[in-house]
């Protein structure tokens, strides 16, 4: 537009000067500019009629996996001498291949397409607008505007792979699974001895016990193994998060929660999830792959947030979790959380706390501690001691606590922490004697 005005002013200037001085040659000098203006006007574009569709190779991708965005443009109007179509790539996505724009001529009824590949961090990325600019070759006249062409890409969180996790909730569900149910029945682990009942298999008879008693036979009992209800709680309180540079402790907590959900669901358990922070974002308990997808999508959307109501864990909706079930809290923890967690334990829940260590995380991300001055080192020691005391107090009330330094492999930490103590064989013999 400014070019058009500039050129018009030049033409005006030449013509007026020629007329004012009665100098025909001055008017003749305006001729190339007038021809230029008329040519631009003659070819000026009409309002474009474009039909644009956006296709994503997949709407859900795993962390680090690429997704290809393809835009197909169909010109339903007259010929477009020069069209520039720019896609607005949502913030957070990185273009790894191709360009999110195209600039070319498009004949009437013509079709074209372009594609590019993106990658991103965990989250949901809505595509909405395209910017379209149409002009004639000389670029004096143009139409430009925004077209809404929707699409959405969800990047699932990184998942930390875990093997089977040994948990022992007080109550299990009615279906066979891998968790000892504290009830006698069919199973593999020895549970106790009772009097023989009609129908008991002969190989279950405990001959030693029976030999000691003259008047009856005794049968071994085994512990039933069942599936359980597992409630995952992800702490998304802004105050509990530690962000150093581009790295956030919350992201590690999300990866851990994803790994835990996957492991529990693989064992056949019924798993629900609660993201506690900005509000209460619940994923109701369920089984299998569908539930896994639900949890992953909820985690993809999870964000930290502040809320006066949910600043402490006092308002944890306990009824969301079935009575005496297993609760797994993924949280860096703070002092104020001791009391609500103790209450949770007192209500009969089996509580496991996976706590990404904020002190180690921050210390590791900053300058080497050895180089820091004495006051920093002292502060670090005090914080570590305070945290250790807090964790001990939790352990004392019967809560399993796993202090996870996020630079260590999560699977190893969990395996070490949840390993079921094996009673040495010689000790069993001593007991039987």
């Amino acid at each position: 537009m400014r070019r058009l005005l500039f050129l018009s002013l030049l033409v005006y200037g030449l013509i007026i000067a020629g007329l004012a001085t009665l100098h025909g040659n001055a008017v003749a000098l305006a001729m190339p500019l007038v021809v230029y203006l008329i040519a631009a006007l003659f070819y000026s574009p009409e309002k474009p009629r474009l039909v644009i569709t956006r296709t994503l190779s997949t709407s859900i991708v795993h962390h680090g996996a690429p997704a290809t965005v393809t835009l197909t443009i169909h010109n339903q109007g007259t010929q477009l001498e020069e069209v520039l179509i720019e896609d607005v790539v949502p913030q957070g996505l990185t273009i790894t291949e191709g360009d999110p724009w195209i600039q070319q001529s498009l004949p009437a009824g013509g079709k074209t397409e372009f594609s590019y590949t993106v990658e991103g961090k965990r989250g949901s990325y809505p595509f909405r607008y395209l910017h379209v600019t149409v002009n004639e070759h000389l670029g004096l006249f143009r139409h430009q505007g925004w077209l809404e062409v929707g699409g959405s890409l969800m990047v699932l969180p990184e998942m930390l792979q875990l093997e089977h996790l040994d948990i022992r909730p007080l109550r299990t569900r009615g279906y066979a699974g891998p968790i000892p149910s504290r009830l006698a029945g069919s199973g593999t682990d020895f549970f106790g001895v009772r009097e023989y009942q009609l129908g008991d298999p002969l190989r279950w008879i405990n001959w030693r016990a029976s030999a000691r008693h003259q008047h009856g036979l005794f049968t071994n009992e085994f512990e039933m193994e069942r599936i359980a209800d597992v409630g995952l709680i992800l702490d998304a309180r802004q105050n509990n998060n530690v962000v150093v540079g581009n790295d956030s402790l919350f992201e590690h907590a999300i990866s851990a929660t994803a790994g835990l959900a996957e492991a529990f669901l693989n064992d056949g358990n019924r798993v629900g999830m609660l993201v506690y922070g900005r509000g209460l974002e619940m994923t109701y308990p369920g089984y299998g792959k569908v539930q896994r997808e639900r949890i992953m999508q909820a985690l993809a959307h999870a964000k930290t947030g502040d809320s006066l109501v949910f600043e402490s864990m006092d308002y944890l909706p306990v009824r969301f979790f079935p009575a005496k079930s297993q609760i797994v809290l993924v949280s860096p923890l703070r002092k104020e959380d001791l009391s609500p967690l103790t209450r949770l334990r007192a209500r009969g829940y089996q509580v496991l706390v996976v706590s990404p260590d904020p002190v180690a995380f921050e210390a590791q991300k900053h300058a080497p501690i050895a180089d820091a001055d004495a006051s920093v080192q002292l502060a670090l020691r005090i914080t570590r001691v305070e945290r250790e005391l807090m964790l001990r107090r939790l352990r004392r009330v019967g809560i399993q606590v796993i202090n996870w330094q996020v630079d260590k492999p999560f699977a190893n930490v969990m395996r070490t922490a949840l390993i079921r103590p094996i009673i040495p064989i010689n000790r069993i013999v001593r007991i039987e004697r």
């Binding site: 030049l10 360009d99 600039q103 070319q104 006249f141």
Partner: protein
């Protein structure tokens, strides 16, 4: 250096040479110096992709051509100069436009590498460039031809007719620009 940039440089040199020669032949060395300086300034502006320098150059060359015509410099040189300046001005904007669209959606990291139009390998870009150059060649050729005709054909008109024609031309142009602005909005 790609085709557009080369043609633009040539056009700046041609415009400078035409105006300088015109003034030189008319024994006005100051005019020669001024247009050589203006041409150099435009070339520097083009080198550093400074958009304002194109406008400045175009304004300078048009003003110079007008003054030269009024002060008796041979109008043919002035017409060649103004046409070459128009082509250079157009190409300067065309190159900038291509650069801007190139940079619009690239990340800051690769923008530096890819900022120059020379690096652009897309077939579409080359097609667009050729179409633009073809259109520009036709338009500037036609303008030059009509300008030459206007310089050579002599009509004797009375003062009243000239004024009337002038007013009609100005009114017509005003309406045209008004219409074009509306269309562009």
């Amino acid at each position: 250096m790609n085709l557009s940039t080369r043609i633009m440089t040539i056009c700046i040199l041609v415009a400078t040479a035409a105006l300088a020669l015109g003034y030189g032949l008319n024994r006005q060395p100051i005019g020669v110096l001024v247009f050589v300086a203006l041409g150099l300034l435009w070339l520097v502006g083009q080198r550093y992709a400074l958009r304002a320098f194109a406008g400045l150059g175009m304004l300078g060359f048009t003003g110079g051509a007008l003054l030269g015509t009024l002060y008796g410099v041979q109008s043919g040189w002035m017409l060649v100069g103004i046409t070459a300046a128009l082509v250079a001005w157009d190409l300067h904007h065309f190159i900038q436009h291509m650069r801007v669209s190139e940079q619009a959606e690239t990340t800051p990291e690769d923008a530096g590498e890819r900022a120059d139009i020379e690096g652009r390998t897309d077939a579409e870009a080359r097609v667009l460039e050729h179409l633009h150059l073809r259109r520009l060649a036709i338009v500037s050729g036609l303008g030059l031809l009509l300008g030459t005709l206007a310089l050579t054909v002599r009509l004797t008109l009375s003062f009243g007719i000239i004024v009337a024609l002038g007013l009609v031309a100005i009114y017509g142009l005003s309406r045209l620009v008004h219409y074009l602005r509306q269309e562009s909005d």
